[in-house]
């Protein structure tokens, strides 16, 4: 399998930020993204997903390290006020 080394950027955030984050991500030049629903717990307390205001989303973007850095830099401004968890991992893109 000679895949292409890439970064997988995972962002976990409050669902209310969805459209804002997506706009930022696409503006930075991402080719796509994948979203799934999540719930959880962190420094901002329990996010139970029981009702609209308490759900999280999990956004994944596959891209090169430049793209990921740009996105992360741009999301810095949301960190103070919103529950966010951002991490990358190495993946091999196979198509």
């Amino acid at each position: 399998m000679n895949g292409q080394p890439m970064l997988l950027l995972t962002i976990i955030s409050e669902a209310v930020l969805e459209s804002t984050l997506i706009d930022e991500i696409m503006a930075m030049g991402a080719k796509g993204y994948t979203i799934s629903e999540a719930r959880g717990r962190g420094t901002h307390g329990i996010r139970s997903g029981k009702w609209s205001a308490s759900g999280n989303i999990r956004i994944e973007v596959v891209g090169d390290s430049d793209l990921c850095r740009h996105i992360v830099d741009n999301l810095q401004k949301y960190e103070r006020d919103y529950g966010l968890l951002i991490f990358t991992s190495q993946v091999e893109l196979l198509n």
Binding site: I46, S48, K50, S52, A53, S54
Partner: protein
């Protein structure tokens, strides 16, 4: 005191939450129930509205909105100076209390139904009108002297947020279709309304139970505020309603509207427009305390107040 059995479902939800029962209502069902309730209320309001010449309501509407705008303006300094809370939190909580709760209002209507009391059907229009200025005032209070309000984003959130959009949309459809045209939809939107309200209250109870615990962390001031504020607002509503010559039921509903605090439209709008405010505080107070206070104690009290002023007033 008057009592409406539908609130027992709220209690059932709260107890399930406190006892860590594995009962849970999926998020998508919550969404569906709230869409149903918003649309049904809007439709009902629209049908009622189609029976009145809109012009006649204009003056009443302006007065009711202006008086309603007092609520966040009173709440803000109380929170900021008496409660020593920061500007953003004070403004956000004030917006929640200036705004209204459709479910509290629905419990009020249910009680009137049970007591066989009439009310002015167009009250539902005011429900929509009251939501908007409160949110705008909240943002202005938060940003006062700092500039930088993103009005476009905020007004979009206010008008096209799910809650107002469905209320207004339902209102217009109900108004266009009229009581005859809407008849085939009655079976779903009107006959089932109270049952759906019961299920929604069950879910609200589950959600509220987790908020109650959180609220405790913020001390006694916020708890007192969450019970005192609705009493003050309700009094304002009773007096306004009575002065405008509304019926007992109408004055009671206006009091209920004023007294209720939002937990659908306001949290979403404030999270976007005043993100530095802590949502745990505002939702904790409005959903964890004011909502149960209103449906168990407030609503019977407001009805009694309305009956009293219409008997002994003047």
């Amino acid at each position: 005191m008057s009592f409406e059995p539908v609130v027992l479902f709220f209690l059932l939800g709260v107890i399930a939450g406190l006892l860590r029962s594995d009962l849970k209502i999926p998020g998508s069902i919550y969404e569906a129930l709230s869409i149903f309730i918003l649309l049904a209320i809007g439709l009902k309001g629209g049908v009622e509205l189609s029976k009145y010449p809109v012009g006649d309501l204009l003056l009443d509407g302006v007065i009711i909105v202006l008086v309603g705008a007092l609520i966040p303006l009173v709440a803000f300094p109380v929170l900021r100076y008496l409660g020593c809370m920061n500007r953003a939190d004070s403004a956000s909580i004030a917006a929640h209390y200036g705004s209204v709760s459709v479910v509290t209002f629905s419990v009020g209507i249910a009680l009137l139904g049970q007591e066989a009391l009439q009310f002015e059907g167009y009250m539902i229009v005011f429900l929509v009108l009251l939501e908007i200025p409160a949110l705008v005032i909240g943002v202005i209070l938060a940003r006062h002297g700092q500039g930088g309000i993103r009005w476009g984003r905020l007004l979009h959130e206010v008008f096209f947020g799910k809650s107002i959009y469905l209320l207004v949309g339902g209102l217009l459809i109900g108004w266009a279709a009229g009581s005859e045209g809407i008849k085939p939809l009655d079976n779903l939107f009107f006959d089932l309304f109270k049952g759906v309200l019961a299920l929604f209250l069950l879910e609200m109870g589950l959600v509220a139970s987790s908020r109650i615990a959180e609220l405790r962390a913020y001390g006694v001031f916020l708890i007192l505020f969450a019970m005192g504020m609705p009493l003050f607002s309700a009094a304002l509503g009773i007096i306004t309603g009575w002065s405008l010559g509304l019926s007992v039921g109408g004055s009671f509903l206006l009091a209920t509207l004023y007294a209720s605090a939002s937990y659908i439209a306001a949290p979403a709008a404030m999270r976007i427009a005043v993100p530095e405010a802590n949502p745990a505080l505002s939702i904790g107070a409005s959903l964890g305390m004011t909502f149960p206070f209103n449906i168990f104690l407030g609503i019977p009290i407001y009805l009694w107040m309305a009956q009293w002023i219409h008997t002994y007033g003047a």
